[in-house]
């Protein structure tokens, strides 16, 4: 599957508090409303500026902090097609795969805000169309790839009636 979109660039250590602020705790059972505040404390204008299919591109340790699955869920709901970062925090990584949000681990230094990207999820090849270079993302571990291919953990368990990770 090839995804195309524009880049919104963020820095290092984008915590789940920046992605899904605690002050909107009461909206956690209202995900479409919560999604209007995605990444608000990292960039208050993000939701207004972005379009369906765009990419969030960040530095190290994206998604550190709380276990709130709402963080990857509302990134996905807002229309972001994938998150590219140098590294991801552990719980966020697993949550994102579980809810079907693609993550790509790669060196994001050369990608700038506004760049047009083409991302092939099956090969992990990222093309920066604006600057004309190519990157390859670290492949997902097989267990996670199996879950992502099934469309997330709920779909995986419904399909196999058990974990089928090999």
């Amino acid at each position: 599957m090839v995804l195309k979109g524009r880049v919104w660039k963020f820095g290092d250590s984008i915590s789940t508090d920046l992605i899904c602020p605690g002050r909107y705790f009461h909206l956690r059972s209202n995900l479409p409303e919560l999604a209007k505040h995605v990444l608000e404390d990292a960039d208050p204008e993000f939701v207004k500026k972005m379009s369906e299919g765009d990419f969030v591109v960040a530095g190290n340790n994206f998604g550190l902090g709380s276990s709130r699955e709402h963080a990857p869920t509302i990134i996905k709901l807002s229309g972001v097609s994938a998150v590219l970062a140098k590294s991801f925090a552990r719980i966020f990584y697993r949550n994102a795969i579980n809810v079907g949000l693609p993550l790509l681990e790669c060196n994001t230094d050369k990608i700038s805000e506004g760049d047009e990207l083409e991302v092939d999820l099956s090969t992990g090849i990222i093309k920066d169309k604006t600057k004309g270079f190519e990157l390859r993302a670290k492949p997902l571990p097989r267990a996670m790839l199996n879950i992502l291919k099934d469309g997330g953990l709920v779909a995986h368990i419904q399909k196999h009636k058990d974990f089928k990770l090999d």
Partner: protein, 424 residues
């Protein structure tokens, strides 16, 4: 070849020879949710038409919004109360306390696998349990099926020698370590704390270390189950739950980090990341608008005793609000019996009911624009306490209590020098 604590527990619970890097399916002994992550978990189970749970111990804790400040959260609480009644899960309603404190007090045993819909589930690691935080879907499915999958983590052995000096606590030790490792320095790893410096720590102090393992990115923060663990479980009327569990002497570690406890000084984490730690001397004089003593990190009776010792017959600075939140009903009752609550109220503190208090920015002490809070919690991310324009510093209960009196961040060794701690 020997095994680390993580490999030992996961081998037992998966029935496989679990080695770092392996993928295993392990039995789940305890699966727990809090009120911020439980509703999404319950909805996932409803989507899958699952109405009963298989995990030996399944629990829902209402602690983040306790009591609820808004109708939306009250409705989430209704959902969790109803689901637990019908599914066979236990409910810990508002006023019982923070999930992690309640788990260690009454539910987790050495050698257990514990999964929780809260990143600080690693707190139970100090009991020698493989305890880790996960998202709602993972915990819901683990709760329903009584098992989950793990990648067996590589382990960083944190070898601590010697006794902490007066005025320096395990909170300072873990803040120092996180400062050294960085917030992602142990991502995907197990931290395993050991050495004579850990053996001599009380369980209350050990829980602080395990609680904050996730702040270096770690999956678990494990400590061997020993005599101190036995004493703790006995004091909770759970002696039968105790068993010894320790890593093998010839276990393989990815890294060994040695810390000399004697050389440590009180630490402060500066805004807005936990690894932004500095010695308290570098923070001295920073004006503080609010001091918060509590949470799953430092809201235990031992923490409140230290705070009370410092606050006795003293008053908070007139410009500094002081909020104290016992981590559980049991802690609250004990503080009441010991007369600590009166000391706090006379010192000008406000005491909240057991729960997470202002830690997550839901209620009870949201910061104003530009305000500074010195907190005993485990996180100081921008926006954490309800306002991205607030500034959160993290420290030990002793640093927090002393700073509340002085109205600015202060070095607690100034008072501990005059009153040396008793041995032990």
């Amino acid at each position: 070849m020997g095994k680390t604590l993580a490999e030992k527990i996961l081998s037992e619970k998966s029935g496989q020879n679990a080695r770092a890097g392996d993928i295993v399916i392990a039995k789940v002994d305890v699966a727990a949710f809090q009120d911020g992550t439980g509703p999404l978990g319950v909805k996932q189970l409803q989507k899958m038409k699952i109405s009963k749970v298989k995990a030996k111990t399944a629990l829902f804790f209402l602690d983040h919004a306790a009591p609820s400040p808004r109708k939306e959260l009250s409705n989430d609480h209704i959902l969790l109360r109803e689901f637990s009644r019908k599914s066979g899960a236990k409910l810990s309603d508002i006023g019982e306390g923070v999930i992690h404190q309640r788990l260690i007090e009454s539910f987790v045993k050495p050698g257990d696998v514990v999964i929780g819909g809260d990143s600080h589930t690693c707190t139970s690691g100090a009991l020698g349990a493989f305890a880790t935080g996960m998202g709602s879907t993972d915990v819901a499915i683990g709760m329903a099926m009584g098992k989950t999958w793990f990648r067996v983590p590589d382990t960083f052995r944190i070898e601590v020698q010697g006794q902490l000096p007066p005025g320096v606590f395990s909170k300072d030790l873990i803040l120092y370590l996180i400062g050294q490792l960085g917030a992602d320095g142990a991502t995907y790893k197990a931290l395993e704390f050991g050495g004579d410096g850990i053996e001599r720590l009380s369980m209350a102090s050990r829980f602080v270390l395990s609680n904050m393992a996730v702040e270096a990115g770690a999956k678990v923060g494990l400590i061997a189950s020993d005599r101190k663990t036995r004493e703790y479980l006995k004091s909770r009327g759970r002696l039968k739950d105790w068993r010894p569990i320790a890593p093998d002497k010839d276990a393989t570690y990815e890294r060994v980090i040695r810390i000399n406890a004697k050389k440590l000084v009180p630490q402060v984490a500066f805004p807005h990341t936990v690894d932004n730690t500095k010695p308290v001397t570098r923070a001295k004089g920073i004006k503080v608008d609010q001091v918060f003593i509590g949470t799953c990190t430092n809201g235990r009776i031992e923490d409140l005793k230290i705070a009370a010792k410092i606050l006795k017959n003293k008053k908070r600075a007139s410009h500094t609000r002081l909020i104290i939140v016992p981590a559980s009903k049991n802690v609250y009752l004990e503080a009441m019996k010991l007369g600590l609550l009166e000391i706090f109220v006379r010192a000008g503190a406000i005491i909240m009911g057991p729960g997470c208090g202002p830690c997550v920015g839901v209620h009870q002490g949201v910061l104003g624009d530009g305000e500074v809070c010195l907190s005993t919690a485990n996180r100081n991310f921008k926006g954490r306490m309800g306002n991205p324009k607030g500034f959160i510093y993290l420290a030990s209960p002793a640093t927090a209590a002393y700073s509340a009196i002085r109205g600015k961040i202060s070095d607690p060794r100034e008072i501990f020098k005059k009153r040396p701690r008793k041995k032990g």
